[in-house]
């Protein structure tokens, strides 16, 4: 399967695909640099605009945004102690003290190089691990695929942490939304209430934009921040290429943090912030001068930034091979694949190898581009974004949300539906119901149902077919492990 990886390369090197990655990385850095905006929101707003585009161009944009945003979050984290994205919290620990000592430029250079290294490692892990995993999963039948969907849903609910009941409510809500529309097996209309617009089901973009874009927009519009108070040093004048040789002393941290980030990325529900915290602590524990940490130690920035970028492409390993995204952004990306008619899962590698392997290359190029784009413009240019008026930005996103959702089918019905999901998103956000299980429920709900019914048809209605093969039994054990581990942990704590 690796030969297909090489065969996909010429397609990615076409000028329009490369430009898409460049634009994506730049846009991602801008989005990440603005506190309150995240890669998840940016990609969910962007997805509808990629409808008419070639799938590789669309995916290049998404890969670029994801890579760029994970680094962009470091800019306000270093300069203002405000993490641009949740994953950049650990970057503030040493980045901000460095900026206060007039070394903000150096901190950002360490951040951009470390982000690029983490991103490269992540892309390589995706290239190495996804193809063999996809080949294994190709052997799965409908019963195994049903259990895979159950594993995916439960793992994101149980491993995400927080309130389990709320997580399960989110997942059930997502599954219920996935069931709206005509049942493709027997033609029954489910929850359509006489609206012909609902016969084809609810478009994933409508849900994504409502859930993920509405809460940040509300926050942007209603949270007043006096940007005139923002102060940051403009000390970075040194070329990034001169600075890199000095950073080579961080190589151990880069390797360890990359591995931690990749591992966390593969685990469903964990995400960049956990990766950054774990790597920071690990690097501090192994440091010769741990007392310096928290007072402006560049290695701390290197550990956090390597790791939060190392989970980007790695989160796509279970997403592309099994249809189980490791993070919220990966879930949104699955939505991006779906709107281009690409069903995530093992068949994707067989049916559209040029797209799936091209996507992997795009992640690699996006990470490499970070050094060129983020490095050369690192401090002052992107830091100016922090001064953009939030209400104007918020009103612009309202317009973009409208255009994006309306453009899907050119009908107002979808826009009103998006508003309903927006209200749900705000309520869930305020009450701390996790959002990724909703998206995963929508993606995996109908997939699980389809495979369950197919299994029952094959087994002539006998439910024991779901536990007949060894793979099914292993997957059932994993399901039990996922459910019981946190419960036992909680019981022990109480």
């Amino acid at each position: 399967m690796y030969e297909m990886l090489l065969m996909a390369l010429p397609g990615v090197l076409q000028i329009n695909n490369l430009l898409a990655i460049v634009f994506g990385v730049l846009a991602g850095i801008c989005v990440g640099a603005m506190p309150g905006l995240s890669a998840t929101m940016a990609i969910s707003v962007l997805i509808p605009f990629t409808f008419g585009l070639d799938p590789l161009v669309a995916l290049g944009l998404m890969a670029g945004i994801y890579n760029g945003a994970m680094y962009g979050g470091a800019i306000p984290a270093v300069l203002l102690k405000i993490p641009g994205t949740p994953a950049a919290v650990a970057t503030t620990f040493d980045g901000y003290p460095m900026a206060q000592k007039g070394r903000g430029g150096e901190a950002l250079q360490v951040a951009v190089v470390s982000s690029a290294i983490g991103g490269i490692a992540s892309a390589l892990s995706l290239m190495l691990l996804a193809p063999p995993l996809a080949q294994v999963t190709l052997l799965f039948g409908p019963a195994e695929m049903f259990w895979i969907a159950v594993v995916g849903l439960l793992s994101i609910v149980f491993l995400l942490g927080g309130n389990l009941v709320k997580g399960l409510v989110s997942a059930c809500f997502g599954i219920l939304v996935s069931l709206v529309g005509t049942d493709t097996v027997n033609g029954t209309d489910r929850f359509t209430f006489g609206y012909f617009e609902l016969l084809d089901g609810i478009h994933i973009v409508v849900l994504l934009v409502g859930l993920y874009a509405m809460p940040p927009v509300v926050d942007l519009l209603q949270t007043q921040i006096d940007t005139s108070k923002y102060r940051y040093d403009k000390s970075n004048t040194e070329s990034i290429w001169r600075a890199i040789p000095r950073m080579l002393r961080f190589w151990r941290t880069w390797v360890k943090s990359s591995l931690i980030g990749i591992w966390i990325g593969i685990l469903p529900g964990a995400g960049g912030s956990m990766a950054a915290f774990l790597s920071y602590n690990e690097a501090k524990r192994n440091s010769k001068n741990p007392d310096e940490w928290g007072h402006g130690e560049p290695e701390g920035v290197a550990a956090a930034e390597t790791s939060n970028n190392a989970d980007t492409a790695a989160a796509l390993i279970p997403a592309l091979t099994l249809g189980i995204p490791g993070t919220a952004v990966a879930a949104i990306m699955l939505g991006g694949l779906l709107i281009h008619g690409l069903q995530p899962g093992p068949m994707l590698f067989r049916e559209s190898p040029e797209i799936v392997f091209g996507f992997m290359w795009q992640f690699l190029f996006g990470a490499i581009l970070l050094i060129f784009l983020g490095g050369s413009l690192a401090t002052n240019s992107f830091a100016q974004l922090l001064k953009l008026p939030r209400p104007l930005l918020g009103s612009l996103i309202v317009v973009l949300m409208f255009i994006g959702v309306y453009s899907i089918n050119e009908r107002m019905f979808d826009v009103y539906l998006m508003l309903i999901f927006g209200a749900v998103g705000i309520a869930f956000d305020k009450l701390k119901f996790p959002l990724p299980p909703v998206v995963l429920g929508l993606i995996l709900g109908s997939f699980a149902e389809e495979n369950l019914r197919l299994s029952l048809t094959i087994g002539l209605g006998d439910w024991s077919i779901l536990a007949k093969s060894t793979t099914s039994l292993i997957l059932i054990s994993i399901v039990l492990l996922i459910i019981l581990t946190p419960l036992i942990k909680r019981l022990r704590q109480t």
């Binding site: 509300v218 939030r390 009103s395 612009l396 107002m412 826009v415 699980a448």
Partner: protein
């Protein structure tokens, strides 16, 4: 404060009522089409009841009061969409974009006019001219 107006209680009740209504709808489906919807609805009712009882078990201090702090921005967004439906996309864009920013505290009129003109021009050239999208015309249609 009325105990039923606690946000989590309110949302849980809303979920239970909504699920009961959908349950009635699902009872008309063919058996195999109803399997997953009914399972999900029952699960949601049970889970929402757990949330409801746990929230009611909390003291008033630990349960946050119901607030409409996000309401203004959300309803302005709803207003924008309704206005597009009624008077069309471009008139709403030209008036709505600066108005929303102004309402939420950005009062620099010069900046607002320039940015509105620029954004409107970009949207028109990109979506109308290049992508040939047809936006709602409202009463002008």
């Amino acid at each position: 404060m009325n105990r039923l107006l606690r946000p989590l209680t309110f949302v849980s009740l809303l979920l239970i009522v909504g699920c009961l209504y959908l349950f009635q709808e699902a009872s008309g489906f063919k058996a195999e089409s109803a399997l997953l919807p009914v399972t999900m609805l029952l699960s949601l009712i049970i889970l929402a009841s757990i949330l409801l009882f746990s929230d009611q078990g909390k003291t008033a201090e630990t349960s946050a009061p119901l607030s409409l702090s996000s309401g203004k921005a959300f309803f302005v967004t709803v207003g924008f969409v309704v206005a597009v439906d009624l008077v069309g996309f471009y008139p709403t864009l030209v008036i709505g974009l600066p108005l929303i920013a102004y309402l939420f505290g950005f009062k620099n009129l010069k900046y607002l006019v320039i940015s509105t003109a620029l954004i409107s021009a970009i949207i028109f050239s990109l979506f109308d001219v290049v992508m040939m999208k047809e936006f709602p015309l409202g009463i002008f249609g």
